[in-house]
Symmetry: C2
Subunit: 420 residues, 2 copies
């Protein structure tokens, strides 16, 4: 039983929080931005300081590896990302990189014997905040292993052509060329060279905190589906068109959204989450009755039967009229629940138990690079409690002690796999 | 009893529809744009052809005047605008200018005796589509006569500084300087020189059509109020945050919008109109629970007591909780019902009756330059039926016969005032 170092972890948290500091407690650190390159340089500097060898693949993923005692053993990799959403926090993604660094630093500092080489890895562009989509680069690297309906969304050429959401012109491919981090394809994560992947991450929800736990032994990433729900009305002047003749697409959307909440809640599934985060309204002028409104619906649950029940409710929208408007639904995205490797989950649980941390089993509602990697090699995740359950926003917080507890669990789980 | 000429009116409709033709039946003709300057040049050419004298004031309003027999008589002015909304139709505004031209052309062609000089006028920037606000220039010209709470929104300096909604930099003042239509302030519409104003306009609603009438004798512009209704929630990750803890500002807004419809409809006032045309959502990302949503509410009714009842319902929003979110309301704009000059309304009705057109009394739900002019001099409006009640969109349509019938009513109403 080895433990990571709180002081060293705290120093990393303070240092990395500077790269992209937005001035009010959080960061904006888009992938391959100057701020993200500063974080990569810091990673390189600290890993070289403990004797790790740095490799960079052709899509800017960085690998810092320390050798193991068995020259034939595959590497065990711990990976996450350094990029953030706009005005994000200091833990999402970077915690997994700092945790991997902390594991390597602890192994070196304590001369912990191990057979397998150990790798700390940075995935490029997980958030997709500047160059969509999210999990872009794990989608590229794991492409041959992904289910075809997912793989088709991450074709290398298309990803290189992804345009900046800020200026609409610069592409991810151009940013990659300019970054100085376009390395060699031969270094890409692959199952011949790597034995397994671990990802330490903040929970991004309040479940651990509400239960009084600090660490989550993650079992799966929830299956989900995404719909676009569209309402077609008729524009007319707000002052001159009588109510009884209106086809108000925004009123239609509001009625349908309330209906969705009512009907889905009747299923009585407290663990089900569903969200309408995006709404578009045309022409969106206060004196014009809207003729078109579209909103998103994101639904997540482990059980495909429950997702199917929700889908039936969503489909029923089309069979009804909403404020005299027509409704059309379109599936945008769907994925099955991804279960982590059971042996690795077992190692994480044993490590958590032995370290004395308060822990529980938990599912991941959010997507992570680990989920694409899991199609290629055994993979699992470890969660650290998130204060108030907040994430993708500046108040995101986990204490240095909690972050270190998560790294300690990862260290010992890795050592259990190493010793097997 | 004189009548205007359908062929001549049809020719004007065809000609003016070219200036800003968007290629699918409608126009985009922002105020002082190249397209609007073409419309102004056409107005000048046609009015000079009948011997009218052209004057242009310092805010680009154009006046074409033919003399009357009494050298001491004030002018009678017929006015509307040539600018349109984005992808608007071929009738809103321009009908009133074409109608005024048609009246002058009919008077000259038929040598109709009249004492007062007659003026056809173009108001600059009624729509405010490129340089907000709407009715900008009538707000400037009538400023000294407007109620203070309205006048303050139309101060000359502020209006000159109004920025283009397209590029966010060019100002209305710059567009005015560049237009070649910045004339002399002494020509501004004023009650010393002008006796009364008429405005011919399309109805922009379906009331005339539904009743089988072609012309509306307008009594008033409906009083209205505008609110911004705001919901404050808490952003969190769509996949990780349990439903029972969410503060979803968009769900809150949908519930409140449905509540508003239910409660306002209970008032049982079929002539009341209310509209939510605009909605803002933050951060508007499909994987994030919205933390802020704001929507507009536009309410119009002749009777202040009815508006007061609606306002009570709106105010009750703040006293409730909406999906655990706080609601805040803010009044953005309010105006009382503006009644047209009763004598002028009488002349319009007599003229409609004598011309044999199918007509009825009607209120205007939309705002018009005439409403600001009415604080300065006796003013009234005449409506022409709108096909399907559509306006501010490309299918906007009134037949040449209907447009000419409206002009004929204006001509004879003007002659009745002239003869008084």
């Amino acid at each position: 039983m080895f433990t990571c170092d709180v002081k060293r972890m705290e120093d990393k948290i303070k240092t990395f929080s500077k790269f992209g500091d937005a001035g009010h407690g959080g960061i904006t650190r888009y992938s391959l931005s100057p701020e993200a390159l500063m974080a990569r340089a810091e990673f390189k500097k600290r890993m070289e300081a403990i004797g790790a060898v740095i490799e960079v693949d052709d899509v800017a993923n960085m690998y810092a590896t320390i050798p193991g005692s068995d020259p034939d053993a595959k590497r065990i990799v711990m990976a996450s990302h350094v990029d953030s959403v706009k005005n994000g926090g200091n833990y999402d993604g970077i915690l997994g990189v700092m945790g991997a660094m902390e594991v390597l630093e602890t192994v070196v500092a304590n001369n912990i014997p191990h057979k397998h080489p150990l790798t700390a890895m940075i995935w490029t562009n997980e958030e997709g905040s500047l160059y969509p989509p999210a999990m872009m680069v794990s989608g590229i690297v794991c492409n041959d292993y992904l289910p075809p309906q997912i793989a088709k969304n991450f074709k290398y050429e298309n990803m290189m052509a992804s345009k900046s959401v800020l200026d609409g012109t610069k592409t991810f491919g151009e940013a990659l060329e300019a970054s100085g981090y376009k390395g060699d394809k031969k270094y890409r994560l692959n199952p011949d060279q790597y034995k397994a992947m671990f990802e330490l991450h903040i929970e991004q929800g309040p479940i651990l905190e509400d239960a009084g736990n600090d660490v989550g032994v993650v079992d799966c990433v929830l299956g989900m589906f995404n719909y676009r729900i569209k309402f077609y009305g008729q524009a007319a002047h707000a002052g001159t068109f009588p109510m009884h003749k209106r086809k108000d697409a925004l009123h239609a959307a509001a009625l349908a959204l309330c209906y969705l909440h009512e009907e889905i809640d009747k299923l009585g599934r407290p663990e089900l989450v569903y969200t309408t985060g995006e709404i578009l309204c045309h022409p969106c002028v206060h004196t014009v009755i809207p003729d078109y409104v579209e909103f998103s619906l994101d639904v997540r649950h482990e059980d495909p039967k429950v997702r199917e029940q929700v889908m039936e409710i969503v489909k029923s929208l089309e069979t009804k009229e909403w404020a005299r408007c027509k409704c059309e639904i379109k599936e945008a995205w769907a994925r099955d629940t991804v279960y982590w490797d059971k042996e690795l989950v077992g190692f994480v649980e044993e490590a958590a138990k032995e370290s004395g941390v308060k822990y529980q089993h938990i599912n991941s509602g959010a997507g992570h690079d680990a989920q694409f990697a899991s199609y290629m090699m055994p993979t699992t995740m470890i969660f650290v409690v998130s204060k108030d359950g907040l994430s993708h926003c500046e108040p995101e917080y986990s204490s240095p002690e909690q972050c270190t507890a998560g790294a300690t669990v990862m260290l010992n789980a890795v050592l259990k796999l190493d010793a097997k």
